[in-house]
């Protein structure tokens, strides 16, 4: 079992990192033939950085758009961020002060994360417009995330797992000094699903995470009169 999971995580990490690197390189390489910021847009690079920062931390456009999706989406993403941060304690030795301090918040965050997900999922059934645009894969990804969240919470609140051996296993993976994985069924499920998520990431709509940074309507400055924008469409100088 240990060998199986060790192998799985190496593969998953490779696919995630390799796949994302490939996608990001692809986005970066693809030309942007014209300036198309959605205006009013910032007119300086600094302004664009600020716009992007607000977009990825506060979900500014979504806030303008739909308060329900915003609340639930934000709950889920911030919850996820805190939960991930809390998980650093399994990867770092010694555990940094900040990660220790974040432990209680991370626990509450798990509820926010799963709650947000369930509410977003409910919208896919209740709101006819959203039901119309939902594919099976959208349900599957939600199911996967909810299952990861619930199995994680089960280990915290229902049946504690042996986190000391778990940490040894994870550090062992990182330093190629393998240690046995605790044979706890909930843990196995949790880890298996996480690996699955890592593997589908670069092939799914989860690409929105790197994608948002490459979105020309959001990452371009409105400065065509101040600086000529040259692209592959521009006439070649003789």
């Amino acid at each position: 079992m240990t060998a199986l999971y060790a192998g799985l995580f190496y593969v998953a990490t490779l696919v995630l990192v390799g796949g994302l690197a490939y996608r990001i390189a692809q986005y970066a390489r693809t030309p942007a033939p014209l300036k198309i910021p959605t205006t009013p847009a910032p007119i300086t690079r600094a302004g664009v950085v600020a716009r992007m920062f607000r977009e990825v931390t506060l979900f500014e456009s979504l806030f303008k758009s739909n308060k329900w999706i915003w609340v639930f989406g934000w709950m889920f993403h911030v919850g996820l961020a805190l939960v991930l941060f809390r998980h650093l304690r399994y990867f770092l030795q010694p555990v940094p002060e900040l990660v220790v301090l974040a432990q209680p918040a991370g626990v509450i965050a798990a509820f926010a994360m799963v709650g947000g997900l369930l509410a977003l999922w409910a919208r896919r059934f209740i709101v006819p417009r959203v039901r119309y645009i939902t594919n099976y894969s959208d349900h599957l990804i939600l199911a996967l995330l909810v299952a990861i969240g619930l199995s994680g919470m089960a280990m915290k609140f229902v049946a504690h797992t042996d986190i000391v051996s778990l940490k040894a296993f994870i550090l062992g993976l990182m330093y190629f000094d393998w240690r046995p994985l605790p044979q706890d069924p909930i843990l196995l499920v949790h880890l298996g699903l996480v690996a699955a998520l890592m593997i589908i990431f670069p092939f799914s709509k989860l690409l929105h995470a790197p994608g948002v940074f490459f979105s020309p309507t959001r990452n371009q400055a409105d400065d065509t009169r101040e600086r000529r924008y040259v692209s592959p469409l521009s006439p070649r100088k003789a």
């Binding site: 692809q26 942007a32 198309i36 205006t39 709101v127 645009i133 009169r225 040259v230 521009s234 006439p235």
Partner: protein, 514 residues
């Protein structure tokens, strides 16, 4: 006109951005006429649907995705959150779920997934991927011609996904396989042959301008000129050709001429580039857009002008402001001390701010005005030095020239403005049904200010908006002439030096001798 059972008067009351119940397939039959081989060829497209269209379309999609970061990122990134689903005026007006921006994108995304993504290749059902069949192509033709490329959806999407980019790509693919849209492609052909969308030749243009000069002089006593093809003029004015012949566009042109006259600048129109519009953008063809844009650079160079000013036209301003310098630049032969290009509203507003223009606002007292932000100006360009100048400057002009100005509801103006319903190459009679329905949100917003503030007129700075409103306003119970040009208001109120109006005004306002 395509038959429509839609009666605007029954729909004009209500929340402008009301979300309708879903009406699946309601607009499936809305289709524009297909371009004939004679219209396709000059644009470099096959005359009719080619035999191996499926293969060619998929290849073209691949080329477009490789050539446009926006398209690639947008096809990959949508999470189906639904935030955009109620933001399109065509959805609000029709209830057809395929007019929800994300569903419109999905028409193309489903094909992209099938042929270009791992998930779509192995498990198409799971990820909503579809083979490119004749039915899918028919859907493309129908629903990608129910998008005015207004970008309202892109404002609200958390990733800025711009359905306009997707529509343009889809139209490009359809043109590439020989399935073009008659209205847009015929017009692009006219621009190549004659110089403008209307096919107005130089002689007719000159005669029109002369009769306008006579009209202005008769009215004001001032010999205002509308010069054509004058070499060595300082400014080339490029304006939509509708300004040369139809109301209320022409009144706007008279306004520009009066302002330019009063500013004392030398300026000219060009018969070679007698059209600001660029339908190459609507059909998503970079080649054609570039070719149409090229005329403007050539005209500017041949006439030896120093400045480039654009008249009131929405998408033309987008192309001019955002794309021109990229497509046909560098425009380094122009005077770099002025904005390149400049919008006529910027030009007029500068003069107003510097106290160079005098107005008798009471001349516009019969107008209780509101302002329609044209999408392409609002969400795809700018005026002035600051973000949002495109909202402030036209309003500043209206406030300087009219006593009664009222804005429509905040969720329907500025960056959230609602399209007129006729943009993006849809301004053709056979699409009247979708144009009327798409206009409903804007018409409701207008109805609200009409009731609250007694608004009688709506000003706009886009030739397509003006033409569309002239057609749809009566259907919603408004007067056809309640759409006006911004520079029409300027024209009505301006007190040109030495004009009859200025004399009368000064006489009436001279210090009373008591």
């Amino acid at each position: 006109m395509a038959p429509t059972k839609f009666n605007g008067k029954d729909h004009v009351h209500g929340d402008p951005i009301e979300i309708p119940p879903l009406a699946c397939g309601a607009m499936a039959d809305s289709k524009p006429f297909v371009a004939s081989p004679a219209m396709q060829k000059p644009l470099g497209f096959p005359g009719e649907l080619v035999d191996n269209w499926q293969e060619k379309a998929i290849n073209r999609l691949g080329e477009l995705v490789n050539g446009s970061r926006a398209l690639r990122v947008y096809l990959d990134s949508c999470v189906k959150c639904g935030a955009c689903t109620d933001k399109c005026h065509y959805f609000m007006g029709t209830g057809d779920p395929k007019n929800m921006p994300v569903a419109r994108q999905d028409l193309l995304r489903s094909v992209y997934r099938r042929y270009f993504t791992l998930g779509g290749k192995i498990a198409p059902k799971l990820v909503g991927a579809r083979d490119l069949t004749r039915d899918v192509l028919d859907e493309w033709y129908s629903y990608f011609h129910q998008c005015s490329q207004c970008r309202r959806c892109s404002v609200f999407c958390p990733y800025g996904i711009d359905t306009a980019e997707v529509s343009m790509a889809a139209r490009d693919i359809m043109d590439t396989i020989g399935l073009g849209q008659k209205y847009s492609n015929e017009i692009i052909g006219k621009v190549f042959n004659v110089g403008n969308n209307l096919g107005l030749p130089q002689k007719a243009l000159r005669a029109t301008l002369e009769s306008l000069e006579e009209e202005i002089e008769e009215d004001t006593g001032v010999p205002v000129k509308l010069p054509l093809d004058v070499k060595g003029a300082d400014i080339l004015l490029v304006t939509p050709s509708a300004d040369f012949f139809a109301s209320p566009h022409m009144e706007g042109l008279i306004g520009y001429a009066k302002v330019l006259h009063e500013a004392g600048v030398s300026w000219t129109l060009s018969s070679y580039a007698s059209e600001a519009a660029n339908f190459g953008m609507f059909v998503g063809s970079h080649e054609n857009m570039k070719k149409v844009a090229e005329r403007i650079r050539i005209a500017a160079e041949e006439l030896g002008v120093k400045r480039l000013v654009f008249g009131e036209c929405g998408h033309a301003w987008r192309v001019a402001y955002s794309f021109l310098n990229t497509l046909v630049g560098p425009l380094d032969f122009l005077d770099q001390n002025y904005p390149i290009p400049q919008h006529i509203c910027e030009f007029t507003n500068d003069l107003i701010e510097n106290g160079k223009l005098r107005f008798d606002k009471s001349k516009n007292d019969e107008f209780r005005l509101t302002f329609h932000d044209s999408c392409n100006v609002a969400r795809a360009s700018r005026m002035g030095d600051k973000p949002g100048g495109q909202f402030e400057i036209p309003r500043a002009i209206l406030r300087a020239t009219c006593n009664h100005f009222f804005d429509m509801a905040p969720e329907t103006i500025h960056e959230k403005t609602l399209c007129c319903g006729g943009g993006g190459g849809l301004l053709t009679d056979e699409l009247m049904d979708v144009r009327l329905k798409g206009a409903q949100p804007r018409m409701r917003a207008l109805q609200e200010v009409a009731e609250e503030h007694g608004v009688t007129h709506m000003a706009a700075i886009c030739a397509i908006c003006k033409a569309q409103f002239s057609k749809v306003l009566p259907q919603f119970g408004f007067d056809m002439e309640s759409i006006v040009s911004v520079h029409q208001m300027v024209s009505n109120a301006i007190l040109m030096t030495g004009s009859r109006q200025a004399e009368e005004y000064d006489a009436a306002h001279a210090a009373p001798v008591s």
